[in-house]
Amino acid sequence: MQTALFCVPAVVAVASGAAVFTVDSMARATYALALSFVAAGTSLLLLDLAYLGVVTILMMVMEMAIMAVFMVMFMMNPAGLMPMSMLHNKRGAAVISGGVFLALGAVALLVPWPERRGTTPADPTRAAGEAIMGSKMLVMTGVGAVLFTTIVSALVLAVSRGRYGDDEGAQDGHREGRGPHGGHGGGQDAHAGHTDHAGHGTHAASSPQEDAA
C-alpha cells in the first residue's frame, strides 16, 4: 500500500520533470517543473516529513511563479506557438545523463546501506526546529548570512540604475516624464462627454467656458 502510494508521486515527479525539456511552451515547462516539485514534496510526506514536504511545495511553487515571469521575459518562444529547437549537443547530453542515472541507480541498489539507527521522533518538525535553534544553529546562521548577501548582490547586479546597468532605465524615466502634452489640449474630443447631458447643448453649443465651470 505504502509502495503504491509512493509510486504515484514518483512517476509524476519524473514524468513532469522530463516534460520540462520536451514541451514547447515555456509557461508549460515552468509549471511542469513546479508539478515535479509538488510531487517530490508529496513523497516527502510519506517519510513523516510533514513540515519539510509542505515547505518544499510552498517554496518551489513560489519560485516557479517567479521563474515563469523570467522565462516569458527572456525566451524566444514563450508560448510555444512557433515550434523551434533550443537544444545543443542533444546526444551527448542524453548519453551523459543516462550514464549518470545508471551509476547513481547502481549505487542505490548495490551499496549495502547500514542498518537504521534509532526511530523517527514523535514530532519530526519539533526535532528539526530544536536542531536549528540548538545544535545546528551555526548552519542556519550561515544560511541567513548567505541569503542576505544574495539579496544584496542580486540587486546590485540586476538593478539597471546601479553600477552594472547602462543607465537605460533612468533615461527611459526621463523620457516618460517629459511626455507628450498634445493630448490634453482642447479639440472636439474633449467635449464628447457633453452629449450625455440630457437634451441641452450639442458639440457646437458647448463652449470652453462651460468646461471651466
Binding site: R28, Y51, V55, V61, M62, A65, A68, V69, T125
Partner: protein, 317 residues
Amino acid sequence: MTVTGAPVWAVVPAAGVLLAMALAAAVLDALLGTTGTGGGGGTAAAARGRRWSRPLAESARLMRQRGRTTVAPDRLLWRIGTAGPLVAALLMAAVVPVGGTVVADLPVGIVWFNAVDVTLWAVVWLAGWGPNSVYPLVGGYRFVAQALGYELPLMFALTAPAVAARSLNVGEVVQAQRGLWFAVWMPVAFVVFLGAVAAFGMWGPFSSPVGRDAAGGVLAEAAGVDRLLLLAGRYALPAAGSGMAVALFLGGGAGPWLPGWLWSLIKTLAVLALLVVLRRRLPVLSPERIVRIGWLVALPAVLLQVLVVSAVVVAKG
C-alpha cells in the same frame, strides 16, 4: 475546546459550507452595490429586491452562457487557472476548524494554509496566461506583482499565532486562545492577516488584477462556466481566509451559550461581512504601491509584532 479530525465524508459538508459562505458574501456584496439594478425598470425598492437574488440569477445565467475561446489559447493551463482559485479555497478550508472538528487535522496546518495561498500566485497567473489575450495577461502579472508585496507580511502574520501557541497545528492554536484571543494582544498581525486575505482574494483595494482599467483583467476573457468558477473562487477565497482568521486570532469556536460550530460560523460570517463592507470604502491600489506598503510598512510592523510575541512567550516560560 479540543479540535479533532473529522471522517472523510466531512469533505462534502465542508465544501458546502464554504460555497454557502461565498454565496452569502456575494449576496451582501450585491446588496451593498449601488451600480447595476439587475436589469429591468421599476422603483428603487423593486430594484433592491432584485439585488438579493442577483448572485444566483447571475450564476444561472453564466451556467447557460457559452464559454469563450480565443485564438491559440493554452487550454490546459487556462483550465488549471480557472479552477485554481476555487480549489485553493477548498484546500484552505480543509485545515480550518469549525467548532471542535476539522476536515484535515494536519500537524502543520498553518504551513499548509500558506502553501495553498502561494499556489494562487501560479493559478491566477495561469488564468491570465491561458487565453492568449492582452488584458488577462496584464491582470495575471499584476497579481504576481502584488503577491510579492503581501506574501512576506502574510507569512510573518501567520508566524505570530504559531509562536504564541508553540504549534503549527491550527487546532492547538485555537486551544491556546482559551484565556485571551490572539487578536487582542497581536492586533498588528491580525490586521495584516486580514489585509493579506483581501489581497489573495483580489478583493477591495487589492482588486487591480481584475480591475476595470484592464477590462476586467484576469476575468476579461472568461465567460460562461469559466467565469462562474473564477467568480466563485474570488468569493470563496475571502471566506476561507476569514475562517482561518477566526481560528488563528478570534478564538475559533469559543463563546458562551451557543455550540462551538455555530460560533465559528457566526464569527467567520462577521469577518467576511467586514471584508465585503470595507471593499466598497477603499480605493484600488496599484501593485507597485502595494509592494511599497507591504515592504515598508506592513513587514516591519509585523516583524515587530512577532518580536513582541516571542518575548512574551519566552518571558512566560
